[in-house]
């Protein structure tokens, strides 16, 4: 399977930006974060003690509808919890995240939004990191589909997701917390638990089980959190490459 690709800070105007592409589901997301900014239009919504996280999702080839509002609410609640909004300079200000779905299939009205959700979460997190918004932890997310025969498929394609009996999105933090779960379809608790354990393995990598240190690097790549870390490391490396040369 081809892994996802991501890059950081490729836009000029926004404070932070990231692009995230997941070949398995075909989605390509661009994210931009402006933070901290004044939000003159939302003065009534601003909180006196912490930052207000605002999320805007722009679909690729349609006008935003109720589905986008819903997914924005979820993203706001996940990222709002991770962002340290009480750090200096953040209270009474806004953290504005804009996500544009520039590649991949359209989500029609009433369709499940779960298929794009992990990609949106990743793009949002990476944009936050790119904008140097203080975070309490990072996370990674995965989409799992349970087929009719009971198999759990990772990152099913849109067609496979439609055929799946149940779909599950999990976001697991870098410290193994279950940050978010969205499941729909028909399933029982044991299936869910199995999917959850699968998700933990995907996001964390099998960190404890392996005793050989040969494939440490590979494993790091394979896990979701490893991928986020890797992307940020690459960016830092390219940002500080002038220093490396001078040493």
């Amino acid at each position: 399977m081809i892994g996802p690709t991501a890059s950081l800070s490729h836009l000029h105007r926004a404070d932070g930006s990231a692009s995230y592409k997941c070949p398995a589901t075909g989605y390509n997301i661009l994210g931009a974060v402006n933070a901290p900014v004044e939000l003159p239009g939302r003065r009534d919504a601003l909180k006196p003690e912490e930052a207000t996280v605002e999320v805007f999702v722009k679909p690729g080839t349609t006008t935003a509808g109720v589905g986008e509002r819903y997914v924005e609410g979820l993203l706001r609640s996940v990222l709002g919890k991770v962002v340290l909004g009480r750090e200096k300079g953040f209270p009474r200000r806004g953290v504005v995240l804009t996500l544009a779905i520039v590649g991949g299939e359209n989500i029609e009205r009433g369709d499940s939004y779960l298929t794009v959700f992990p990609a949106l979460l990743h793009a949002g997190l990476l944009s936050m990191i790119s904008a140097s918004v203080p975070l309490s932890m990072t996370f990674s997310a995965t989409l799992l589909g349970v087929t009719k025969s009971g198999d759990i498929v990772r990152d099913p394609s849109p067609a496979a997701a439609k055929a799946a009996v149940s779909l599950h999105v999990f976001a697991i933090s870098s410290k193994n917390h279950l940050l978010l779960n969205e499941s729909e379809g028909r399933f029982d608790f044991d299936t869910w638990e199995l999917a959850r354990q699968n998700a933990v393995t995907i996001c964390q990598g099998s960190s404890k089980g392996s005793d050989g240190d040969v494939n440490m690097e590979e494993e790091k790549n394979a896990s979701g959190n490893g991928f986020i870390r890797e992307t940020v490391e690459d960016q830092i490396y390219s940002d500080y490459v002038y220093k490396l040369d001078s040493i």
Binding site: Y70, D111, N176
Partner: protein, 394 residues
């Protein structure tokens, strides 16, 4: 406190009436209720007098609106939702995508019908194609003016109302509650050959020369939910009202009249048919209340999930509970917690068979984990029995 200087005249009383304490220190107020001092021998109750996993008093009443095909009012505590279902006819001629088929779909369809595998499977697909792709179910939720402070007249639909509308729609689709067959209006062209031949052959003609019947129109169900009073947990109330209204919905008998080239409906109530719904999915929402209000943001390193769990266990042994999962939160409790969970369950065979989860979500925090979710599913399953009783009576 400033009151100490003034209290020389009156006897010094630092105690505030509970209502003021609740407003000034909402978090401490709820915490004090949930963790009473061990000496007082009081049970841990929420500020509203409920136990942690207790739902509010729920009532439902169906069929109260006269101009709709089906309606219901559901009240959960002080949150009240009115739902009206209106059915309107959509001619297939007016559907742009009706006469359009995708070559790739057709091929797979052919294969399916040839191999004759999974009858329910192809039916599922057809249901999805009709209900979802043609948008035959149109739920819309509005938070009416004055349902809670802050809802002013003339404002655009709030993000909350829009996202609730989406949740209703996606739950209607993912549970496949309404069967597409109930919404189809068929036309059976008369078999002219058979009529000419006479009556003796009518048994055979069923199989041989009958022209295929065709769908001439669909019923579109406009499901309008109005939250007339919002005191927390709008989704459970809204979904229950949708469910009750759909159970109440009767569609008049409709047929295609070939002479007038239009759809005709029967006036006779006896001809009207109820919808046959698939199952009875019941939604239960929860929130998690944490003892330490600042746990999430104070710049301490957040411990690993395992560490945190061990720590929690230890504190629990000492009689210090750190967080409570509150079922059916009211508005006051919702304002004090960020982490939310929602479980929608159904039981097959009228509650005799096992519990099926149709939707599960949690977001806004990291306290709830797999074990908590298992408990929530159990609580939701109990709630299912209760709600079934209420909905059956209405």
């Amino acid at each position: 406190m400033a009151s100490t200087t003034a209290s020389h005249a009156t006897p010094p009383s630092l105690s505030l009436p509970p209502s003021q304490f609740a407003r000034l220190q909402p978090h401490a107020y709820l915490l004090a209720h949930l963790s009473p001092p061990a000496a007082s021998n009081q049970p841990s109750l929420r500020a509203n007098g409920r136990a942690a996993s207790q739902f509010r008093v729920t009532s439902a009443n169906a069929g109260s609106l006269t101009h709709t095909n089906g309606s219901a009012v559901v009240r959960i505590g002080d949150t009240a939702a009115v739902c009206g279902v209106r059915a309107e006819i959509l001619n297939t001629e007016d559907i742009a995508s009706w006469s359009v088929s995708h070559a790739s779909d057709e091929q797979t369809d052919d294969k399916k019908s040839k191999s004759e595998e999974g009858d329910t499977d192809s039916q599922d697909k057809e249901d999805r194609a009709h209900i979802q792709d043609l948008n035959l179910l149109v739920p819309n939720l509005s938070l009416s003016t004055g349902c809670a402070p802050g809802f002013t007249p003339g404002a655009a639909p709030s993000a909350l109302a829009q996202s609730l509308s989406h949740q209703l729609l996606s739950l209607l689709h993912s549970t496949r509650l309404v069967q597409a067959d109930d919404l189809r209006i068929w036309y059976q062209p008369p078999n002219l050959e058979a009529e000419a031949l006479g009556e003796q052959m009518d048994v055979d003609s069923e199989e041989s020369g009958n022209p295929a019947r065709e769908i001439k129109a669909f019923w579109v169900l406009y499901i309008d939910v109005m939250i007339i009073s919002l005191a927390g947990n709008p989704f459970d109330a809204a979904w229950a009202s949708v469910l009750a209204a759909l159970r109440d919905t009767k569609l008049p008998k409709a047929w295609w009249d070939d002479d007038n080239e239009t759809i005709l409906c029967s006036d006779d109530i006896a001809d009207a048919k109820k919808l046959s719904l698939r199952g009875l999915p019941i939604a239960s929402s929860f929130c998690s209340f944490e003892a330490d209000a600042a746990a999430g943001w104070r710049s301490v390193i957040i411990p690993d999930a395992e560490e945190q769990k061990a720590q929690e266990q230890k504190q629990k042994k000492q009689g210090m509970q750190q967080r409570w999962v509150l079922a059916d939160p009211d508005g006051y409790e919702e304002g004090l917690s960020q982490e939310r969970a929602c479980v929608v369950v159904d039981k097959e065979n009228d509650g005799k068979a096992k519990t099926v989860i149709v939707k599960m979500e949690k977001h806004g925090g990291w306290a709830l984990d797999g074990d908590d979710m298992r408990q929530l599913v159990d609580v939701s399953a109990q709630r299912w029995d209760e709600m079934k009783r209420i909905l059956d009576q209405c």
